[in-house]
């Protein structure tokens, strides 16, 4: 009980891991590209959570700076990913990731 | 109890920063009630001012000079049937107005009405404000999408594209103002709303006049972007009546529609507050350098009282002008009573102990009120931009201008620090 009530870095890490797993499941199982991209955002957020938690643990700010870089990265990834999605939808009129199979020969 | 209140009144911290939860609650209540009243007043004022610009009278029936019209309006809205389109996405449709209202109101957590008159002072104040106010885009997009109808969808896409693109220019303008806060001995700026005003106090200069004309241009960019942010004329494409009927809230009615309405006006007040805080010295009184000294301080602290007395005088003047007909008796008496109440408030505000504490709030509200008048004025004079022109303005005019101002401000600030404070 004591360990439940005292929030340590490990708690944040477990939360991050859970979020990461949710993201992984989403990426691996969903067909809808939009939701796959959102799951990737979940993964990135889990990473961010860990970074900030470690930054809190060591009392430094490097983790937070890294988190900001990861957010920047996520923005770039979302922009390009959604751009690809739009191009894909225009050609195939679907957003199912199974049908991205032009190279599967 | 009184001692408690008195002890608070002379504290130098915001209740949030002091961790005083009771006063935080009181502040939240006071600010949100004040906001609701301000929005009601604003609807009345907008209709009246616009009417007089357009050679008509505006509301005249409900109460003297339509003063009770907002109450009648809100009653009507609350009693109206709440219609949900059959094909709408019920949950999203239901939650969208609340998101918008929440975003609009949460912003007021960090707005400083005076050095201690804010719910809390956040280290990331301005960032928080921009972030939370950008959340209202989500509500708008959801409202448009959930209605499952073409016009709301186009309206939502338009307004969200507009808000997202003008946020960029807005952010650049804000950053150039924040840069100016770092012109002190330590060379560190601040994002705290109170800190920004205090920086203007310390530098004896409102940021609108700083590095003339850089501050002015940044302010101009912000002033344009904030109109676009709040979807008001001449950037009111999202609700362009002649094109999209009513934009994203076409399918909404009754109470939920009134939430959108409320949030629109609250957002107007919020962005005006940002502009006032960043460039117009927040709660600081005008002419701090020209007319300085305790005598002038005292003189300027009389302004709140004078303003209320002026309003009271206007009420009495119009009471005298009321038609002398038995049908108008109640209205005449009502107006006179209103005038008496305003006059009494004005008299109370002349007590030095009160006026010294209230003048911050007065100056802040007066500046915000000026912006509100501008909003109405724009609506009365300008035609509406077309969508592509609006985007062009945002990306091709305001954004480069904002970048230029930012770079110049940084350069000038650096020069000043290197040359004058080596």
């Amino acid at each position: 009980m004591e360990s439940m009530l005292h929030i340590t870095t490990l708690h944040y890490l477990v939360l991050g891991a859970a979020l990461f797993l949710l993201g992984v499941i989403g990426v691996l199982t969903r067909r809808n590209v939009v939701i796959v991209l959102m799951s990737i955002e979940l993964i990135l957020n889990a990473v961010n959570l860990n970074l900030v938690a470690f930054s809190r643990m060591w009392g430094g700010l490097h983790g937070q700076v890294f988190a900001i870089f990861v957010i920047t990265d996520a923005a770039a990834e979302a922009a390009v990913g959604l751009g690809i999605l739009i191009a894909f939808f225009r050609n195939k009129e679907t957003v199912n990731i199974d049908e991205v199979n032009l190279l599967k020969w | 109890m009184f001692a408690y209140i008195k002890s608070y009144l002379s504290s130098a911290q915001t209740p949030g920063a002091a961790g005083n939860m009771f006063w935080v609650l009181v502040y939240i209540l006071v600010i949100f009630t004040g906001l609701a009243i301000a929005v009601m007043l604003m609807t009345w004022l907008e209709r009246k001012v616009l009417a007089h610009m357009q050679v008509r009278l505006g509301p005249m029936r409900v109460g003297p000079h339509g003063l009770l019209q907002p109450i009648a309006d809100s009653l009507k809205l609350l009693l109206k049937e709440d219609i949900m389109p059959a094909e709408a996405d019920a949950f999203v449709f239901w939650i969208a107005p609340f998101i918008v209202v929440l975003a609009a109101f949460t912003v007021f957590v960090v707005i400083p009405f005076g050095p201690t008159h804010a719910i809390t002072d956040m280290n990331i104040g301005i960032l928080f404000m921009l972030g939370v106010s950008s959340l209202s885009v989500l509500g708008i997009v959801m409202a448009g999408w959930a209605s499952n109808s073409h016009y709301p969808l186009i309206g939502a896409l338009r307004s969200s594209a507009q808000m997202v693109s003008y946020e960029v220019a807005m952010g650049l303008a804000v950053v150039s103002a924040i840069l100016m806060t770092s012109l002190n001995a330590e060379g560190t700026g601040t994002l705290s709303m109170i800190g920004i005003v205090q920086a203007q106090l310390a530098q004896h200069e409102w940021f609108i006049f700083k590095f003339f004309p850089l501050g002015l241009i940044a302010f101009f960019i912000f002033a344009v972007a904030m109109i676009a942010e709040t979807n008001r004329a001449p950037f009111d494409l999202a609700e362009a009546e002649s094109e999209l009927t009513a934009g994203f809230h076409t399918e909404y009615s009754g109470f939920r529609w009134s939430l959108f309405f409320l949030s629109e006006y609250t957002a107007m007040i919020a962005v005006s507050s940002i502009a006032v805080t960043l460039w117009l010295g927040g709660w600081l009184r005008p002419f701090p350098n020209l007319l300085s000294g305790p005598t002038w301080d005292r003189a300027f602290s009389l302004f709140p009282g004078i303003a209320f007395l002026f309003l009271a005088a206007m009420c009495f003047f119009n009471t005298a002008r009321m038609p002398k007909h038995p049908l108008f008796r109640i209205q005449t008496i009502g107006l006179a009573v209103f005038g008496i109440v305003l006059g009494l408030i004005g008299l109370i505000l002349f007590i030095p102990a009160v006026s010294m504490r209230v003048q911050d709030i007065f100056w802040f509200s007066a500046k915000v009120g000026g912006f509100m008048y501008l909003y109405i004025w724009y609506r009365g004079t300008f035609p509406r931009y077309r969508f592509d022109q609006l985007m062009q303005m945002g990306w091709k005019v305001l954004l480069p201008l904002g970048l230029g101002v930012l770079i110049l401000t940084a350069g000038v600030a650096l020069l000043q620090q290197k040359l004058w404070h080596p």
Binding site: F89, R90, E93 | L50, M53, Q54, V55, R56, H150, Y151, I154, A233, P234, D236, L237, A240, E241, S242, E243, T245, R379, G380, T381, F382, P383, R384, Y385, R386, F387, D388, Q389
Partner: protein
């Protein structure tokens, strides 16, 4: 007008193809849309916000005016024409009366003609004022509407004093006028002219040099003079495209030849030019009224016409320059008291055809502006 060679380059049949059909959005604008000026229904085919093509669905206000004409005597039908273009009822009446007069081979006495010109030109001003107000409202400027309505009121007051009605005036009778002008008519009109001249400047001050107005109207809804002629478009729309064609000059009716006025024309044929042309037309109308009011001759106000009108067998077409364009009446008489066939050539109906051409490749917001600038009245389109 149906010459296929002239129309071929317009290609109104096949709309532009979108990049992919998936992106095409079909939007139904109207009939209950605030900006379609009544019950016009426009089916828009959009690519994003770009208009690929559009189709007007009309007839929501159809009342069978032409058919009614076949079942009424010539005199009885006169009030009905007011209900077509109810914004410019006086012009409608003038056109109808002159057509029947042509059929009967009578001519209204000069005094009647002068008063007709004065009232018609006042009506033209009123119609343009209404157009300006609603057009500006469509583009988002709400204030001009109230200014124009305030000033239009003065014209309507003159109408009311003259014939008792404000909108559907039924001001003229076949052969002249029914009522002599009231005492003080000339003074009222002169007062109005003095009052109105600065008001035009006031409207122009609000809009003409307004940046947003310029951006919204310049190069929007362009149409060339040739296309106008090919489609039969008339009125200010035609003149804004640079074609100097005004029936008041081209085939003078009602003694317009006695008055000195200019035909304002534009160059680009865009919405802004149409705006300028109409503003200039208001000034020209003021000029005409000024000349007319000073020289109203004395004399009878109605020609000698039989109590029961039985025009000789034959047909006649007569057209006038209504505020919106060429308003023509074609009447076939079989010698009885009722016309055998009445056909109206309404300017709004014909001008509306150009909407598709003018809106192609523009944005949705421009469609609104173009509908506004065409100045249609659905009562006249649907009849």
């Amino acid at each position: 007008m149906t010459d296929p060679n002239t129309l071929s380059h317009l290609d109104l049949e096949t709309p532009e193809k979108p990049f992919l059909d998936a992106n095409e959005l079909v939007i139904n604008m109207g009939p209950q849309h605030p900006a379609t000026h009544g019950v016009l229904r426009v089916i828009l085919r959009l690519d994003g916000e770009k208009v690929l093509g559009l189709e007007c669905v009309i007839g929501y206000l159809h009342r069978g005016v032409e058919k009614i004409g076949e079942n009424r005597t010539y005199t009885m039908f006169n009030p009905y024409v007011d209900r077509m273009d109810y914004v410019a009822a006086v012009s409608n009446g003038l056109g109808y009366c002159e057509t029947v007069e042509k059929l009967l081979n009578v001519e209204a006495p000069p005094r009647a003609q002068y008063i007709r010109v004065i009232l018609t030109e006042l009506n033209r001003i009123a119609s343009h004022q209404l157009w300006l107000g609603t057009h500006a409202l469509d583009i988002g400027a709400i204030t001009p509407l109230f200014y124009t309505f305030r000033d239009r009121e003065e014209i309507l007051k003159i109408f009311e004093k003259y014939c008792g009605a404000r909108l559907t005036t039924h001001a003229f009778r076949i052969g002249g006028l029914q009522y002599e002008t009231y005492a003080g008519f000339e003074k009222d009109v002169k007062n109005f002219l003095a009052f109105f001249r600065p008001k035009i400047d006031e409207y122009e001050e609000l809009l003409t040099t307004n940046r947003i107005w310029l951006e919204r109207t310049k190069n929007v809804g362009r149409i060339s003079g040739e296309d106008c002629i090919a489609l039969g478009v008339t009125g200010p729309v035609l003149r804004a495209s640079g074609v100097k064609w005004d029936l008041r000059k081209a085939q003078p009716y009602a003694n317009y030849k006695n008055f000195d006025f200019d035909i304002p024309t534009g160059q680009n044929g865009d919405t802004y030019d149409r705006y300028l042309v109409r503003m200039a037309e208001m000034r020209q109308s003021v000029r005409i009224v000024e000349q007319a009011i000073d020289s109203i001759p004395e004399g009878p106000i109605i020609a000698k016409i039989p109590k029961v009108m039985k025009p000789a067998v034959g047909e006649v077409y007569h057209s006038i320059e209504a505020p919106k364009g060429e308003l023509g009446y074609f009447i076939v008489s079989d010698g009885s008291t009722q016309p055998y066939r009445v056909r109206v050539r309404p300017p709004s109906f014909v001008n509306l055809q150009a909407l598709d051409l003018m809106c192609r490749g523009q944005l949705v917001a421009d469609v609104i502006a173009v509908i506004g600038t065409l100045d249609i009245v659905l009562g006249e389109v649907d009849r």
